[in-house]
Point group: D2
Chain length 126, copies 4
């Protein structure tokens, strides 16, 4: 998944604000699902919600406004009710070389429309 | 209504990003309602939603990280289904003097939970 | 310019928060410059900054999470120190049909690194 | 440090978006410094920048629009170049009772204006 850094995602130091990465990881998860043929929006419309219960980010190197970014997302572990992802966020140079900016991990839990824990759809269980 | 500029509300120029003001105006409206004894959250829970149909902002002077900000909000016009507000956003110095950063206007329409236009509660009509 | 609505750009009503459009308009301007062979990041590195002095948005129809969005941006007027843009923001259906969500206008002024008004680069003057 | 949840900090599930907490933790750090008599803005103006190298958040319970939030921040460890903080984020009911929504930890490193690691000011060293 590729994106370009937006002006308002950067802070007065001139680099991407550390909080901006959370939304990129979320896009990474959405696109991973889409690549598997699933729309997260359709999941929600069917009453299956994935909520984040744990987020961990390590910042290695800053990215800047207008940098091209690549987010690699993989599902690494799952149970009947939870799923873990790992991420690598790179900035991509004009010559195609990549530098690692951030690594991250999340744990998601599956809940229904009232916020109660429910089983993940079978195909998402680890 | 007073607030302090957050780091992530500023951009690489070191000033408040122009998009950040929209959320401050929204807080101004919420607090104007609260001062009138009404919770906008309770309004929504009762199925009355105010949606923005027009927003206009003029930027006079930049504000910066950690500046103290004052938002003056007033309801200026209303009809059975719409309400207009005007805003002045100041930065407040340590000595209490104020400089005008932004003026703005919004028009809100009243809708129900399905997005259809409905009448404003009587006490909000102009 | 196309993008997909992010989860955190939507609000509890389930639609794109009105403030989220400001960053999309900004991307529209950046990509308009890029299409003309200019990087706004390079302009800033050369000490030429474009700051927004006026923003006006009319909201016609809501967009939702995961909608595909198209932003049409055009430069409509200019002087030695200012430039005006107009925008149309559409949501694009799977069948390619488009619905107008938002129209907007901005006025940008040109300043130097210290915030003082300066002339626009000649090629940007109207 | 207390704040009220903003409308645009919430997502289509009707709860605070998980990414919104990062800016609240940042305010917690700023106010902890201010309580110690130090302005982070003044630190930056003196060429001392604190950049985040690690962020970890555990989400226990959702918060909602207009909830009153309390952020408890404490510095727990330090070295010559790094400082660790721990956080607890509560929602506060009208009767003053508190429920724990989030716990978090960050590690900050000290850099100069060019992004190179430098020693923390002596009074910040652990």
């Amino acid at each position: 998944m590729r994106l370009r850094v937006r002006y308002n995602e950067c802070d007065p130091m001139g680099v991407v604000h550390h909080g901006s990465y959370a939304s990129w990881l979320e896009i990474g998860r959405t696109e991973l699902l889409r690549a598997a043929g699933v729309s997260y929006r359709a999941m929600e419309e069917a009453g299956v919600f994935l909520v984040i219960v744990k987020l961990s980010i390590r910042y290695k190197r800053p990215a800047r406004y207008d940098d091209e970014i690549e987010v690699l997302t993989k599902a690494v572990r799952g149970s009947r009710v939870k799923i873990d992802h790992e991420y690598e966020v790179f900035k991509v140079s004009a010559d195609g070389s990549r530098e690692l900016c951030v690594t991250a991990e999340t744990t998601l839990a599956c809940v229904d429309g009232t916020g109660h824990v429910r089983e993940l759809p079978t195909w998402l269980q680890g």
